[in-house]
């Protein structure tokens, strides 16, 4: 078994399928909790601490909903990143755009710009540079036209944002079944993200999505469009749903 040190660590490459070594010389954006170890002279500071002072960081990281879940690593050394034993892959964007599930993004070079996606729970990376994403099992690349289960979707590149496809036959069958009392609650199969156009869709094998702290803030922002009466109706429905789930 090889023992890895500062000189033998693979620089800018995977150490094994589950950990990646970033060769830091300058700054990198790193998701909170993704760093497992580092060599060298590296300082980790919250993005919030920079965004007020450093216009450069604010311009690169333009998603207030996610800002508190990210840190800036600055200095020189090797930083090891990993996420719950999931597979970690690095992606190189060349003047491109890629949208990825926010909880699966581990880090990105500051040459990329991060923006909040229209689809809740996702962020978009723009520009040229490297970023790291984790996935449950190796990433599966498919080409549109493709319909993906929302929970298995890791991200998409170069194609238009998805629309939501409702499976009419499934819903009709479920409804009839629900009336007979034979079938339980919805499983999510009746709703898929529909991708069209040219590009690539990234999938993983996971139907369990990690709690995304930014998702609440993103959804809350969207509820600003509701009137006061609608907001009260929504609050009541959410409460009823939680009580039903908890039994």
């Amino acid at each position: 078994m090889d023992v890895l040190g500062p000189s033998t660590l693979p620089k800018g490459d995977n150490v094994n399928p589950y950990a990646f070594c970033v060769d830091l010389a300058g700054s990198w954006f790193i998701g909170r909790g993704a760093m497992i170890a580092y060599y060298g002279d590296v300082a980790f500071r919250a993005v919030t601490a920079y965004a007020s002072a450093d216009a450069y960081v604010a311009a690169r990281f333009s998603s207030p909903a996610h800002v508190q879940d990210w840190v800036v690593a600055e200095g020189t050394g090797q930083v090891l990143l990993a996420d719950r034993g999931f597979d970690v892959s690095s992606f190189d964007l060349d003047d491109g755009n890629l949208t990825v599930r926010a909880t699966n993004l581990l880090g990105f070079a500051p040459t990329l710009a991060l923006k909040q996606s229209i689809v809740p729970g996702f962020v978009t990376l723009l520009g040229t540079g490297t970023f790291l994403a984790s996935s449950n099992g190796p990433v599966i690349f498919v080409e549109p036209p493709f319909r993906a289960d929302p929970q298995a979707l890791l991200g998409w590149a170069d194609c238009p944002s998805p629309s939501i496809h409702h499976d009419a036959a499934w819903m009709a069958a479920s409804l009839a079944g629900a009336l007979r009392g034979a079938l339980g609650r919805v499983s999510g199969e009746e709703r898929q993200y529909d991708f069209t156009g040219a590009g690539t869709v990234l999938l993983q094998s996971s139907e369990v999505v990690r709690e995304d702290p930014a998702l609440l803030r993103v959804v809350e922002q969207q509820t600003e469009q509701l009137t006061d009466e609608q907001a009260l109706v929504l609050a009541g429905r959410l409460r009823a749903r939680v009580e039903q789930r908890r039994g």
């Binding site: 599966i140 498919v142 493709f146 289960d149 199969e189 139907e207």
Partner: protein, 216 residues
């Protein structure tokens, strides 16, 4: 055409020319082409007794059928997927919750495992190994879920293969699977290794074992 392994955790099923695939509900990751899904009730046909038996044993999973032309990706919670091809002569025994997907022309039924009566049932409850199991018969492909992947152990006549109940995934062939207790004095004083319960497999066929003691 059997399932195609995309990676250790995902399989792709090609539909068309009358091929229907049954899968666990919630296991569809995505699809290409004109594919229609419809919910079907769980395994354990065979009338009221079958349904009641399935409910008693927990051998019932909500399933769904995929028809049409195109390809569907299946996977569940990042669990490893093993594809087993059945030749039509040997049935497969598996717990229903490990069944990810299979060809719709395979027949599934709920079967009593072992023949120990009530004592066996109590032991089954103690080990988490159900007394009832799902029997899959016919020719076709089955995708099984496991924790950390499976490997196959051959069973030859005259040999006994002993498997930890937690590591047992499925068995194919003319096999008899029996639960045995082997309690030593260390177990009696609470210092046992936890290996007091074992599944003894005899006959001719293959046992699929996972390299983990995690149940699904």
């Amino acid at each position: 055409m059997p399932f195609e392994s995309v990676n250790g955790k995902v399989v792709r099923a090609h539909l068309g020319t009358g091929r229907t695939v049954l899968s666990r509900r919630g296991a569809m990751l995505g699809y290409q082409g004109e594919v229609a899904f419809r919910p079907v009730s769980g395994t354990g046909g065979g009338g009221v007794r079958g349904v009641v038996g399935a409910a008693l044993a927990g051998e019932s999973q909500p399933m769904m059928a995929a028809t049409g032309s195109g390809s569907v990706l299946y996977g569940l919670r990042g669990l490893h997927v093993t594809v087993v091809d059945l030749d039509g002569r040997s049935p497969l025994l598996v717990e229903a919750d490990r069944l990810l997907a299979h060809d719709a022309d395979l027949q599934t039924s709920v079967q009593l495992i072992g023949s120990g009566g009530l004592r066996q049932a109590v032991r089954g409850a103690a080990t988490g190994q159900g007394l009832f199991t799902t029997r899959v018969a016919g020719a076709g492909a089955v995708a099984l879920l496991s924790h950390g992947g499976t490997f196959a152990l051959p069973v030859r006549p005259g040999e006994v293969v002993v498997v930890d109940p937690q590591a047992y995934v499925a068995s194919v062939g003319a096999l008899s699977v029996e639960l045995r207790a082997r309690v030593g004095w260390r177990d009696a004083v609470g210092r046992g290794s936890g290996e007091a319960f074992q599944l003894q497999v005899t006959g001719s066929g293959t046992v699929h074992v996972q390299a983990s003691e995690n149940k699904l």
